[in-house]
Symmetry: D2
Subunit: 441 residues, 4 copies
């Protein structure tokens, strides 16, 4: 349990002298928004030895697959997709298997049974397979640890490969970004290095469907997807927002810290000065049942301090990265106005979320989403803003894909990775209701 660094502290790893590969898994816990199933690496004994599976994503046809597995007489001890995938891999005995298990065939077979969404690490003895579903819905990338030239004498240097959802994790262990696992690709990592074994194609005509919300909200800004830095995409979203939704105001600012790149982009495009209006309180106490109205109203005031002198008497454009439930932005606006802002205009660097996600992101129910509630008709009035405007879906998609286009000329590999259908595409289901595959119920 806990972060990988807590669950597998370096002291513990140093004791593992005999092995040189392993897999870990960190569960999302971004506040309020994502809360994936309990997806620790699932380990089972099979006839051929132990396999371990780490899984990021959510199988769209999980229910049908569970029934299939249980019909075969397997009892499932958790509700997690990771166990399901592991038991499916243990179960599948393709015709050609005689003595040794053919894991690649089993993985391909698994991929033929479920289209999306999954990025997997499968470990068996001395091999790790890195697998990404044909739609590439969840990210997966490979990093390389290169030897350090100057080491104290007698020290043995580490050299090897690492796989991660986000490339930002590479820097912290001294690895360099190598490349993405492509949609549908099965990559084998062993003592022989990295080897691409296969690319399972999508149905003809289907574009890839990488989750656009990774750019908007989830990923760390220094991560790289599809050849571009997330920070840069967010800054482009801010510029696009300034074009789509200009404001007659005095200063541009951000709800720290995630919306800062978009706010800087908005400021650059609009020509308005960028200032800070809120500072974070490092010592926010735990929440509790507030006993009276006064304390209930103070929630957000405990989280942020107002930098009054930077905006008192001014009209503020406040950039936020997304508005899901609307609980947070309303008291921030109140705080700014009480501290002297004459107007607060909200500009959101993503379109409103209107539909649930069935591919791994724990979006609130349709009813909870502010964009689906009656008060959204007058959202500005509801949250106390002078005006509220969102980035359009088209604006977001173009801000995202602009960087890929410029990259495609340089990088042939991505453009040829999946020969059927369109080469670029993103899942915008939570914004548009258009899911990349038909959903089974």
């Amino acid at each position: 349990m806990g972060l990988v660094s807590t669950a597998c502290p370096p002291e513990a790893l140093l004791k593992l002298r005999s092995g040189n590969l392993g897999i870990c898994h960190t569960r999302y816990s971004t506040t309020g928004f994502s809360e994936l199933q309990n997806c620790q690496p699932f380990v089972v004994d099979t006839l051929h030895g132990q396999i371990a599976v780490a899984h990021n994503g959510e199988l769209v046809n999980a229910l049908a697959l569970r029934t299939k597995v249980m019909r075969h007489g397997v009892g499932l001890s958790t509700s997690s997709d990771s166990e399901l995938i592991t038991q499916l891999l243990a179960l599948t005995p393709p015709m050609e298997e005689r003595d040794a298990p053919n894991w690649v065939a089993r993985i391909k077979n698994l991929m033929s049974e479920t289209p999306t969404s999954y990025s997997l690490l499968v470990m068996f003895k001395d091999v790790v397979y890195a697998v990404r579903d044909p739609y590439g819905n969840r990210p997966l990338c490979i990093g390389r640890i290169v030897p350090v030239s100057k080491l104290h004498s007698g020290e043995e240097d580490t050299e090897g490969w690492v796989v991660s959802s986000e490339s930002c994790s590479f820097q912290s262990i001294g690895a360099k970004y190598y490349r993405e696992v492509l949609p549908g690709e099965i990559v084998q990592i062993s003592k022989h290095g990295v080897k691409s074994l296969s690319v399972v194609p999508r149905p003809e005509g289907d574009p890839p469907a990488f989750c656009i919300f990774e750019y908007v909200y989830f990923a760390r800004p220094d991560s790289i997807f599809e050849g571009q830095m997330v920070y840069t995409v967010r800054q482009r979203c801010g510029r696009q927002l300034a074009i789509e939704a200009p404001t007659d105001a005095d200063v541009v600012s951000t709800v720290p810290e995630s919306a800062t790149p978009a706010a800087l982009g908005y400021a650059q495009q609009s020509g308005l000065p960028y200032v800070e209006v809120l500072c974070k309180n490092r010592y926010v106490g735990r929440t509790f049942i507030q006993p009276n109205t006064r304390l209930r109203q103070l929630g957000v005031a405990k989280k942020f301090g107002a930098l009054t002198d930077n905006f008192a008497g001014k009209r503020v454009v406040l950039i936020d990265d997304s508005i899901v439930r609307g609980n947070t932005i309303s008291p921030i606006i109140k705080l700014l106005k009480e501290a002297g802002a004459t107007e607060v205009h909200i500009r959101v660097a993503s379109p409103p979320i209107r539909y649930p996600c069935y591919m791994g992101i724990n979006i609130p129910t349709k009813e909870e989403l502010i964009a689906n509630r009656p008060e959204f008709q007058d959202i500005a009035g509801y949250i106390g803003a002078a005006s509220v405007k969102y980035l359009t879906v088209e604006g977001l998609v173009s801000a995202v894909q602009e960087g890929i286009a410029s990259l495609k000329e340089k990088d042939e590999m991505i453009s040829t990775s999946n020969t059927s259908g369109k080469r670029v595409g993103h899942c915008t289901a939570c914004l548009t209701g258009k899911y990349p595959v038909e959903l089974e119920w």
Copy 2:
């Protein structure tokens, strides 16, 4: 994790308004002697719904069964027999099953695949099955909760059934001992009450094989097995020991607290006065790596205080219930002699343990057992005693079975429970090396 009372505190149970049955499991942790596998109730989803299994014992053919299950394509996530049994129950699809699962047929099928040792609770929806293996190796008994007459008005009283390894647990929840689950019996407990469904027979000629060490060591003295109180059996062992191994001494005493009934029996039979020679120190600190010889020698002195005046200048017969490794008794003898005992004679109320147990009791390896080590030839000299004598296997068996014989007249049910072969018998494998079934490797 932890005792049932910790893992399922009453506050938690009180919140479970909608249900009225459940199963729990407590792992043995008697010092140094038993340390069963991690046997929590194992819960899985099956095609027909959730089943939960709690298991006490150890399957003699676990390895073969694991291979069988894995050959079917099931991955096993723990090394515990409980998971194995649960997956076997999930797997077994007897011919006649069509729509609803026939759990009794599945349990019988399981019992046909493994002879011993297991006492099981299997819960499915609104039924609990209590199952004991055909040899009756591990105990299992049923208690009844009867309504209390005087309750405060408006209170609803609990009425129902409970199942436990040891009957001593009934008193503490206000239940009365009802009866044992018989060797090979499948008992169904539901809203319709307790119903015996079937008694699976042993191979012709095989006697039952209830673990004789439950009487000697494991069970709480107020528990009832085969119609007799454990305390009484231990007292008879002490009497038998006085007959087999009389001593020319002044006082009889005990290593508190487990050997006290045997010591009182020895005193009664021998006519020697019973005195206390040791008092327990309630505040024994945790053990640690003692930095020098002095402190190493003080281990047992921290655990017991010598009641000097009761034995100074006297010859002491000290009764112990069993000697496994011999680490404890030696410093106790030293302590008594330093405090003034002129002679210390050790009398052990059970035979020496010489063989490993493969049926659920974590006995040390053959090499560790003091009875198999060279120094056992002069055990008295080795531990510093004036003499050491053990109860014979025959003496133990007769002390145990004497009470059952007297009971059989009264209780027809037990005498007719298993029609094939002998009606009374115990597993003495750890003492004699004669295992109740042939062991598979």
Copy 3:
């Protein structure tokens, strides 16, 4: 916080290379009965260096002394007598002190200001003073650590002195009982060994007043006070009780474990057989707010198991060491009767407690004590016993002092320790209301 073994674990002590003396303190926490003030060694910086004080007892004139200290301008940060004593020692500047502090004079001065009750350890630099109040109300004794002959080569053996309230603690650290600190005595322990510095006398005519409840209830049975083992005194109390309160019954038993010596004494004197009727449940869960009448009645049944066969159909004499509130014995009687005892006679090996203690023992208020409540008039009926009888105060005092008398011939030191008044005497205030000194309010 916690036991000395927890607060000062051996690992921590081993790091203290530069010192060779120290003091610790364990706070009483015997259930329900004693709960002394928070008396950790109190340490302060004084003009002359640091002093540390550990205190067992309770100053009868604490309030007056607190006012005196505060009038001098000292702020007191706790309500504990230990701090008060420490600040009094820091404060007191006797006339003759010039450069170095005269701690012995300061301690004598302290003793002149408060008669009882206190046993003290005062540490200053390289000396520890062991002090017992003139009435000797709280125990204090000295042990000697003698070198072990056979040590591994190169190991340095420990040799030295230890001071403790109870001698039972010596055995567990390899020390031997040396002698008691006498009432009023100041003993200096330093690198020069043990040296008696002074014996401060009691007012003319006052006998010593060692707490008789140490014998009855508090002390561990293997401790030695006034030359006799506590266990032996308790056994004598049982014999005396059999003389004072004989019973027409079949068996004698005990409420384990503290009343066992008295029960064995009663059995020996009366000629009735001694049996065990209750076994302790090692896994008693924590108490909680029981939700209905049934569970409320089960409290004691969770703590003890009934050894039915030992007393079913018999009349039981049950010995208890004391009855304070009467909450415990009542459900035990009910338990025994439900399990088949035909009669349960309670014999208590001490007189009823009727008065509060102001000298360190946390006895309930006068109103809470069962002996002062109306129901005590028919105590047997109230708790459901066939009869209830107590030891008389005279019986208790004679059982206690009988052993001292026999000892006095051998040990001149004790008989001459305090020349004024009687040589033997005990505080029986909680039984008789006669306090050893006049109480200030």
Copy 4:
């Protein structure tokens, strides 16, 4: 222990029905820089009742005062100044006191014995005294809780006064900044409201000496001192730095988050674009003993991610708020250069720290301070920067005092608070070695 919100959680406070005032204290624990003495509110019983003292600061003549108190016969149980102050207040019996204690006289007396540094809260029964030393070295300010108009019916609203070192804490409890406690002022807070009792003057000619490092480093940016917001002062420091140390570079950035206002100020003054170059890693694992050179070098890389695209191929001016030991900035520069920065120029928004603080700030020893080490001669080369420049002391003081000057016209109270000597002044001892008072040893 812990933050006030942890030590006194709202649930606990809500139980305190009978009282309506209290004091708390949070110990500094800013990483590596400050680590004040253990200064919880110190509570003692005095002759007149309980007093409690919370103290921020460090008495320059603590040693002399300790000796004085101990000479009076008071033992001191901690090394903290808070206890010392509390005992001094308990001790001091001014001539005129007869029956009731005159706390104001006692506080004045205390102030006559120690010039600095202390901000105090003294609580006695129903009054709290807020006291700031005559030099005003540590901050102290008062906030007001005004009633909320709309409350649910039946709720009682809180109205009252709060005192804090930093005004930023007011917002989070719904209070408004009211005013500073002036240097030397004793303010009484009771049911009669806030009342200024006295202003104890400084020695003639001495200016006030508020710690200038509160502006530079310690305070939260939304706090107000001397009428100006800390964020604004830091921004002015950045502007001043751009004037004193201009750079031929492409972009300006910050070491997040504390240097951001100075970086924005530098960017505004210099005309260079402001970009972000580092993003914080929210999941930095705990540090540990790194087993090899590679991991040792990765420390800072685990804390920050490089936003490569924002500065690759560019010359970066990186603003930091202060450099104490130089351990942090060096690996950040390495990280930026590896990620593609062509040059990294360091500009520090404060002068180098060269002298220890004896007034409450835990600055490293003189030897540890990078400004005093030989390598500081070539600090740029040492840390790998293209150039390193610091703000001058004059620049810092003018950036700080510029805002106060502009304020003085509006606020008569501050200008008249202390009639002797200069009206504005700051302690710059750690930068210049000029301490506000002569230090006693």
